[in-house]
Symmetry: C2
Subunit: 346 residues, 2 copies
Amino acid sequence: MTDTARGSSRRYGTRPTMKDVAARAGVGLKTVSRVVNGEPGVTPDTERRVQEAITALGFRRNDSARILRKGRTASIGLVLEDLADPFYGPLSRAVEEVARHHGALLINGSSAEDPAREQELVLALCARRVDGLVVIPAGDDHRYLAPEIAAGVATVFVDRPAGRIEADTVLSDSFGGSRDAVAHLIAHGHRRIGFIGDQPRIHTAKERLRGYRTAMAAAGLPVDDAWVSLGTTEPERVHTAARAMLDAPEPVTALFAGNNRVTVTLVRVLRQRTAPVALVGFDDFELADLVSPAVTVVAQDAARMGRTAAGLLFRRLEGADEPPRREEIPTRLIARGSGEIRPARG
Amino acid sequence: MTDTARGSSRRYGTRPTMKDVAARAGVGLKTVSRVVNGEPGVTPDTERRVQEAITALGFRRNDSARILRKGRTASIGLVLEDLADPFYGPLSRAVEEVARHHGALLINGSSAEDPAREQELVLALCARRVDGLVVIPAGDDHRYLAPEIAAGVATVFVDRPAGRIEADTVLSDSFGGSRDAVAHLIAHGHRRIGFIGDQPRIHTAKERLRGYRTAMAAAGLPVDDAWVSLGTTEPERVHTAARAMLDAPEPVTALFAGNNRVTVTLVRVLRQRTAPVALVGFDDFELADLVSPAVTVVAQDAARMGRTAAGLLFRRLEGADEPPRREEIPTRLIARGSGEIRPARG
DNA sequence: TAGCCGCTGGACAACGTTGTCACCTGGGGT
DNA sequence: ACCCCAGGTGACAACGTTGTCCAGCGGCTA
């Protein structure tokens, strides 16, 4: 009798199942299931025998089979733009933490700001039958998600609203934050203020631009077209845009950066110039207080956004049957100095 | 006849299966499977009928069932310390990118530097039957993983070695990097150099201390016990440790920081002091070049570590049957200025 | 002593998919 | 006219688990 022919031994790469455990413990299959799940109705003696068999065989319940049988996967998906971006680390971590409290695992993926990839990822997660999804949208049409949501996949959008679909959403107050930021610059005497932001198809970019325009209008200031530049956040582009504004015949005396990547690039640009230029950035970043001058920012609370989103998600999973909610997380202006620089001339 | 009684309609929360698609298209179950998987042997006409049924019902293959049947999950697990830490973002992203190229999803979790939580997470991932694991260990005993590895779960440890178990490992050259960093300080005239590092149970902390001691010894310099402080990376503790070294009768004239959180805290401490103190940090961080003086660091390539680890993992999954490998990723000293500060006196 | 109850344990089906195998149909060769 | 072959198609079992339901057994009461 060969080794592989014996019932109790397993080939390399195969794992013991409840059946094996049952055979070894000399009990029925269902009894093993009861022990594994801590269900009542098993004598202490039987339980001990089963436990021994489990340990001896190195049995571990196959969750795939369990999931198939039970219908719930106890996992949620998170689709964001880029895990390497410092804004998403804390957000992701916060979502994970809430998931952990609900006994769920987190599967995540980066869309790299590509709508096709976002959809591919989301659908792959749905095929895995995640119980819910937290999505930071890259695209602006999420109708492809409708059948999934109808089928019961709880879905929450974060940072940007869903496109052409109704769903729970958690945003930060891009408009208000931007308006405050620009008002701050105006209060310090600036009249010509530039705005360098993300691509206009991104919702937050549009909102921040709207905040900028609103603040300018409220102060009765005109906005020159040359003071607004939207596009990718690549340093190259930001650099070029900034130079155009700063080297114009009537240069801007202050800059408002639409997100933290832009802000950082602008810090690098400005430190190479002699004339002091004021700067306020949207979104805080780790060492904003250590560069000089320390950078004034509109801080978003990424962790809170993640927590809120995950909270909404699990409320849905627990059966909450309310219309889609939209939560807005307030921003906070942190004045550190770079926004207080006064314009060179009046 | 009620709506729910009709075969083709589904209750809210249930999803159509291949059986439903087959019934609607008037074909057999297996034919649907063939279409879904792009297997050959289906007439164009049949395929079209099936595709229509799929679209009409909003069918999406249930990967849980597929996984159960096929044995492979096309997902890998990543257990790290804290996703919110800037060191792990790029690492995680790199792992994800490689996984994506192999058609696998990434499930990840944070251990919060707690060995029990690490184990819990790893075993949960094994229960999900991930094909492989990338682990940044928090604990120092991984024998609990032996049955899993024997069962075929490819496992790679990153940043720190596995405890009491043989496995593929990707480390960065903590020892060499630290030795070079301290040599750099010595070359700039420092004789009393402090080292503030992470908790001594963490492998990299020990290695970096060893590098420090080796460099000091190589230069024939004594090391005072008061110049070495290992512990948590909380700002409080680092602050206290730094003050003790800087306010001693014979103060250190330079500091070597054991990781990026320590470095950042030390930058904050040092800028409050008048006497210039040299600083070199282990691990680069985003704005190291923007603070003044710009911070000299030993840079680790987190993305490369992630790529290497994932590469090893998938090589194993493709059947490579070699003894465990240990890859060491070199570090790079980036001199930016803070290491070139000369000691106040001789 | 018969009948009943409560408790433990097991047989069996089902979850949705894929692999195996056999069936059917039509066409071409003898 | 017969047979064979190939390609298209479907029936069925299996993956490992959990839910349902029933059987056996011991102790209790009438």
